[in-house]
């Protein structure tokens, strides 16, 4: 068990492409960190640099107090779980799990004890003498995890371990991984492109885009205070509505609707307003509302996602199933729940968002 310190790490490929760009992450002992981002954002490359499977072009990686930049993967005291399991097809489950220990000259009795323990933890006992070929996807993934566990490493590295499983199995394996990690208390780095997996597993999330860190934070921090439009649209399903507005003095104009702040805003000009689908409601009669033109509806069972337009900007609202639908609806919004992003897509400073906002009486009734 150990902390991991990723300090200004970059990966340069031939031709000057920076796959990972000056990334800084301090991972505490026992923490579960999830690296999340779209394909090509450098999350796997970063993980592989920690594992030692890719060379580190710039920066320093420390595991414990040891700089591991030039240390062989086997000597970094880490274990890795791969997307396609990477089990040795000609070895039985037991041999697969024991291989790493055998190479480290662990005494036979100890190997057996550790493999048995891991097999018990992962409920793999009946399959110990089978070949990977004779196992299902979920079982293979468990063997891959068993192979990591028996080593008792300082850190687990997961490279999209659940991507090859079907949706149902993915959910149950997700829970298992989380429980297991809690129980063992081993520092873990987990790479995924699935924001739901990221949210449910992580102690802290690292959102990556184009080789750079967009935001680091707990799942709730990231969800409720996204640091950029990228994070806002990547984390959360459905994606956060991002709408262009305009701030002038204490007035905010979005859609055909205007809002008035109590105080003068410290920002003027074009602004991106973020609004979560679940923060939209049906306006109570007599309340200010947004005129909403319904385009189509996605039924999710528990809620329904209503897609449509306010003015010429697309919007998605998550409404209770009981809501009566019509072609033109009146949506209520709470300006407190607006997120603001500047022209570069970065979150605007908090004092601004905290300012109490009220609907301008005349603005709210302006229609398209």
């Amino acid at each position: 068990m150990a902390s991991i310190d990723i300090n200004q790490v970059s990966k340069l490929y031939d031709g000057g492409v920076k796959a990972v760009n000056a990334v800084d992450i301090q991972i505490a002992d026992g923490e579960f960190i999830v690296l999340v981002g779209p394909s090509g954002c450098g999350k796997s490359t970063l993980l592989r640099m920690v594992a030692g499977l890719e060379s580190i072009s710039e920066g320093v990686v420390r595991i414990g107090d040891r700089v591991v930049n030039t240390v062989e993967p086997a000597d970094r005291d880490i274990a890795m779980v791969f997307q396609n399991y990477a089990l040795y097809p000609h070895m039985t489950v037991r041999q697969n799990m024991a291989y790493g220990l055998k190479n480290r000259k662990t005494p036979k009795a100890e190997i057996d004890a550790r493999v048995d323990e891991a097999a018990r933890m992962l409920e793999l006992q009946p399959y110990l003498d089978r070949r990977p070929r004779a196992l299902s996807g979920g079982q293979r993934q468990r063997v891959a995890m068993g192979r990591a566990i028996v080593r008792k490493p300082a850190a687990f590295l997961f490279d999209e371990p659940l991507s090859n499983l079907d949706a149902k199995l993915r959910v149950s394996m997700r829970v298992e991984i989380r429980k297991l990690q809690r129980r063992l208390g081993t520092t873990s780095i987990y790479v995924t492109h699935d924001q739901l997996e990221a949210m449910t597993l992580a102690d802290r999330l690292v959102v990556l885009n184009g080789g750079r860190i967009e935001q680091i934070g707990t799942p709730l921090e990231v969800y409720h205070t996204p640091a950029s439009t990228f994070v806002a649209s990547f984390i959360g399903s459905p994606a956060m509505n991002l709408i262009t507005g305009h701030i002038d003095g204490n007035r905010l104009a979005i859609w055909p609707v205007g809002f008035t702040f109590d105080d003068e805003a410290a920002y003027r000009g074009e602004v991106t307003v973020g609004l979560r689908a679940e923060d939209l409601t049906v306006a109570a009669p007599g309340q200010p509302y947004l005129p909403f033109r319904v385009d189509y509806v996605e039924e999710l069972g528990a809620v329904r996602l209503v897609h449509g337009f306010v003015g010429d900007q697309a919007l998605c609202a998550s409404l209770p199933v009981a809501t009566a639908l019509s072609g033109e609806m009146r949506l209520g919004v709470d300006p407190q729940k607006f997120h603001f992003f500047d022209r570069e897509g970065r979150r605007l400073a908090l004092p601004f968002a905290k300012a109490r906002m009220t609907f301008g009486a005349e603005a709210a009734t302006v229609s398209a």
Partner: protein, 280 residues
Amino acid sequence: MYKTKFFDHVILIVGCLLMLAPIIVAFTTSTHSAPEIHQKGLMLSLGDNFGETYHKVLFAQTGFNGTVTGLSMMLNSLILGLGFACGKIVLSMLAAYAIVYFRFRFATLAFWMIFTTLLLPLEVRIMPSYQVMSELHLLNTYTGLILPLLASATGTFFFRQFFKSVPEELLEAARIDGAGPVKFFIDILLPLSRSMIAAVFIIMFVYGWNQYLWPILMTTDESFFTLMRGIKQILQVWVGAQIPDYNEAFAMAVLAMLPPVLIVVVFQSWFIKGLTETDK
């Protein structure tokens, strides 16, 4: 599913007959005596000289100094075939391993250089090869018979393609599990290549077994004669009114066929797997 029809069977049976007929004729003819064959030509009926002929071919001492038997020639062929196949497999596996898994400059160039040697058959370089062996004093040795033929572009190519199809993660998992290059090769790659090895083994064994030109050049000492040479030797005794021992030549040809057939039969399921298997 395709249902086999009568006509399909006809085609297959005709095909089988075409392939088998010469072998059957060779066998039946070999059971007659030499003068009979000389008079009547090839024969389909079984003669009554089976035991005598085959015994003579296998055990009778022939050659100028009378030390060579069919059995010893067969042993030579076997040594040549096995040494050839095993050596080629070891060499081409190691070459492919280096080309696929080690990043060094000119790796691709090295591969293509090996690959282009496919275009140069033994016959093209037979004189220089002979000279090299002769100057190394390796004429009339097993080493001299086998060594110059070991480099195999075909084998290297087969193994290269196979290694390329082994998932990258397997290597990475092994690296994290603490397996160095040698360990990875022996513990992981070798067992995975089993069926591929079997396939290459069959091809190379048969190729080695059938070598004719090279052994003729390399060996003048009769104790190194292979079966292929032996067959020719039998037919080379046309002196005066002596009739060549056709029966013995046929018998030896039939015997010479057996080991390769045996190898193919034993390894055939692996052979097919090795060339077609994709599940790793």
